[in-house]
């Protein structure tokens, strides 16, 4: 943050400069081999610090290949609230203590 007289912020989007990742005590880590790409974590993340990235092609029930998105955690902004850990239906997200 730029120090100004009177705490004036004249450009929009300054919240992006506050890297809330420094608040974290626990760190969510996705184990992709268990992740079914359901995007429930992405949906629930309040920050939102889980980003939807384009993924590879996967076979679905009828053996057709379709492109599935992949959830990727942005640790610059993830505050470590653990909601994703709680919501993941396959328990694919570990919650590990931050080593600082």
């Amino acid at each position: 943050m730029k120090i100004t007289k009177g705490v004036v912020i004249s450009e929009p989007g300054s919240t992006a400069l506050e890297e809330t990742g420094s608040w974290r005590t626990f760190r969510p880590e996705i184990r992709y081999e268990k992740c079914i790409r359901c995007m429930i974590c992405w949906n629930y993340c309040p920050e939102p610090a889980i980003e939807k990235k384009p993924g590879e092609e996967y076979p679905v029930a009828n053996q057709k290949l379709i492109k599935m998105p992949v959830p990727v955690i942005n640790y610059q902004y993830c505050k470590g609230c653990g909601i994703c850990v709680n919501e993941c239906p396959t328990k694919a997200i570990d919650f590990v203590r931050e080593e600082k």
Partner: protein, 399 residues
């Protein structure tokens, strides 16, 4: 320059007019009510071109002042006592937002018990709010210091709000001859109000007084501290320039008969006149006594106090306020100023004149007598003058 018979509150109203203040949000409270009355009268008469906002509370008055000052216009308000207490939250916002608002205060006691008379407790209560503090001895000073307050407050190295205190009734409601400056001279002194800080502008939206994390809050507080340090020199310069144009000299502290004085009174506000009279009287009797008047309380003129009192053996601080549990506020500041000074004088705090009790020559004579005794021996650090100790001890017990 016309001489006018003005009350203190009218002096500050004329100062607002002469400073070409554009917005005056105010809520009436004794003893400051005459200020908004006079300002609205000046506006209604067409003598003053400004917007008067009759708001619903002091909290709103200063909030509106912040809004007005944030658009870049010269803004002034006035209050006292409970009104200032109600403004407290907004005082810190005004200084944190670095808005050059000027406020006239009719220094009045705080309740309970309810009391509307002279007492400096109210502005001492907001000592740490980041506002510059001026104190007037006379109605002339009230007018001059208000104009000077704008000059200092608006300086780009300062940009802090300023308050100008004058004792309730003794100044606010008492008529004195006041030399009201010519408009052109005040214009020359203050100049057009510069826009030297970011202002509210619909075409360029911005956040003012934003939310700040622990990573940055301290830096903003530090910059307020630096701005207040800058104010020290800016005030000196403004006093000098004012003297050049108007021929009335001011300084943060000013001495009277200090050179060879063993005992020095330190006073602030209207009580100074009586102290000066006492010094004259005691000098005639051959006593080595002098007087130091504080005109600027924030930034505190620490170096000036140490310098001007360097020959004194006893400093008798006169406090028209009390911090229960320690001492009066001016004593605290004066005593702290000497913390790292080797040969320091004895410093005694005298509490008197609370809630409008008159401060008389006899009181100063008593202070002098006690200080002289202290010069040679032990003394109590905090002493109450002109108080019915016996009645209080009957209720509270003795110490």
């Amino acid at each position: 320059m016309p001489m006018m018979m003005l009350k203190g509150n009218e002096s500050t109203a004329y100062a607002a007019k002469l400073a070409r203040v554009k917005v005056v949000p105010a809520y009436p409270i004794t003893p400051s009510t005459v200020f908004p009355e006079k300002v609205s009268e000046l506006i209604a008469n067409g003598e003053m071109d400004a917007e008067f906002l009759p708001v619903e509370s002091e909290h709103s008055a200063l909030s509106a002042a912040i809004g007005a000052a944030a658009t870049g216009v010269r803004t002034m308000t006035a209050t006292a006592s409970q009104g200032l207490a109600f403004m407290n939250e907004i005082l810190y916002i005004a200084s944190g937002m670095r808005l050059p608002i000027v406020m006239a205060i009719g220094n009045r006691a705080l309740a309970a018990p309810v009391n509307i008379w002279a007492d400096q407790q109210d502005t001492m209560m907001v000592r740490d709010s980041g506002w510059i503090h001026f104190y007037a001895e006379t109605n002339q000073e009230a007018l001059d210091l208000t104009i000077i307050a704008f000059k200092v407050s608006e300086n780009e190295n300062v940009l802090l709000p300023a308050l100008m205190g004058m004792d309730a009734f003794v100044l606010t409601h008492t008529m004195e001859p006041v030399n009201v400056p010519e408009q052109k001279d005040v214009d020359a002194f203050l100049g057009e109000k510069e826009i030297n800080y970011p202002v509210l502008d619909p075409s360029k939206p911005a956040t003012f007084g934003a939310f700040v994390f622990p990573e940055h809050y301290m830096e903003f507080r530090y910059s307020q501290y630096i701005a207040m340090e800058h104010a020290k020199k800016v005030i000196d310069d403004a006093f000098e320039q004012f003297n050049k144009i108007f021929g009335r000299g001011y300084s943060k502290v000013s001495g009277f008969q200090v050179e060879d004085a063993d005992i020095l009174f330190i006073t602030m506000g209207s009580m100074t006149g009586t102290a000066r009279e006492t010094v004259r009287k005691l000098r005639e009797e051959g006593e080595k006594v002098g007087l130091v008047k504080i005109t600027v309380f924030r930034p505190f003129p620490k170096d000036e106090i140490i310098e001007i009192t360097k020959n004194a053996k006893v400093i008798a601080v006169v406090d028209r306020n009390i911090s229960p549990g320690f001492a009066g506020a001016i004593f605290t500041e004066v005593a702290a100023s000497f913390t790292n000074v080797k040969n320091r004088p004895k410093i005694i705090d005298f509490i008197l004149g609370l809630g409008g009790r008159d401060i008389r020559v006899e009181n100063y004579e008593e202070i002098y007598k006690r200080s002289k005794k202290a010069m040679r021996g032990k003394f109590e650090e905090v002493q109450w003058i002109d108080v019915d100790e016996e009645s209080v001890k009957e209720v509270e017990g003795s110490l």
